[in-house]
Amino acid sequence: MIAWLEQVTGGLWPYLVVIFFGFLPSEIWRWLAVFFGRGIDENSEILVWVRAVASALLAGVVAKLILTPSGALVAIPLVWRAGSLVAGVAGFYLARRSILAGVIAGEALLITAAVYFSG
């Protein structure tokens, strides 16, 4: 299929793939939300549920990135990957709720572990 696209579009096919097989399938959910959300009141109970589902989904994204890593993260054992998140949250609270401090604490632990495990 990609060979066929190459012929038909010249060098443009990677851009068309991004638009038709990346952008549109992804964007549809944002557009649907605009139409579904039109009648919903700001204080309605259903929005509390929708928000909870969105938050659980995001937390799931975080967990999945740590549990099934890619690239250079694979070389670092799970305990250290998860421990870096814990260190980040600890740094956040120790520095009076500073996100920057949390990021530095988590990254410091992970990069130290990475130097140890991957050299």
Partner: protein, 251 residues
């Protein structure tokens, strides 16, 4: 009906947009750049041109979706299957956008503005907005959002292009550090934004159920199922506590 016509003046709008740009142009932009550098590297690995990577950041505007797009293309999947996988990874934008729009929308906001806003919904701008919008005067919210979201988008697009050329040169430890930035920054933002018990419950269930969802549910659907199950559980517990308190408070 606008109570105070002066509150909609161009000066208020621009001041709000500038505040959005200023708030984005620090840690949020840096963190997003760190995660999109990795996407740039992936685009190069699969043999796509740099411009297609930058275009994917601007249009798809979801690093996980972009990873799925280029990752499944690299694995040789058929294009319709690629589209389904990307779409599944972006289902979260439905509840996220539905939750955000009521905070930004005002009576008479045209539909095309809402559609434009919805395009910029992604984790960074969403978590930040859910945190700051409730305390912001309504007339400042949309310009602030556009200022913030466009700043992180431009930074991320530049980082995608830079990553295309740079990622191969990085030492492994630094590359691992870059890959940690997204989950770490998202988590810290969610912790910072959590106010009510229902927020903590959703966060806890989302993380706690993940190992089971990944093990049991077919890949691609796992996050969707766990979001629905975890979010619904969090909501039901929140309802249960609320009803009990109402009963205890009104004998």
């Amino acid at each position: 009906m606008p109570a105070d016509p002066a509150s909609d003046s161009p000066s208020v709008t621009w001041a709000a947009a500038r505040d959005g740009i200023r708030d984005a142009a620090g840690l949020p932009a840096l963190m997003l750049m760190a995660s999109l550098v990795g996407v740039g590297g992936l685009v190069r690995d699969v043999g796509f041109p740099m411009g297609a990577g930058v275009l994917s950041t601007v249009l798809i505007w979801a690093a996980p979706g972009q990873m799925v797009l280029f990752g499944t293309i690299a694995s040789g999947a058929a294009l319709p299957a690629v589209a389904v996988a990307v779409s599944l990874s972006s289902v979260r934008f439905l509840p996220m956008t539905m939750a955000l729009l009521p905070l930004l929308r005002r009576p008479g906001t045209p539909i095309w503005v809402l559609l434009l806003i919805s395009h910029f919904v992604a984790i960074t701008a969403w978590v930040h907005s859910m945190r700051v919008m409730p305390d912001m005067p309504p007339e400042r919210r949309i310009p602030y959002f556009f200022g913030f979201a466009n700043t992180v988008l431009v930074a991320a697009a530049l980082a995608t292009g830079a990553g295309y050329y740079l990622i191969g040169q990085l030492p492994a430890a630094l590359a691992a550090g870059l890959l940690l930035t997204s989950p770490l920054f998202f988590l810290l933002n969610m912790v910072a934004a959590a106010k009510q018990p229902v927020d903590w419950l959703a966060l806890g269930f989302g993380i706690g159920l993940a190992p089971f969802a990944i093990a049991i549910v077919p890949s691609g659907l796992d996050l969707l199922v766990e979001g629905l199950v975890g979010g619904t559980l969090a909501y039901l517990i929140h309802r249960f506590i609320k009803v009990r308190r109402a009963k205890a408070g009104a004998p």
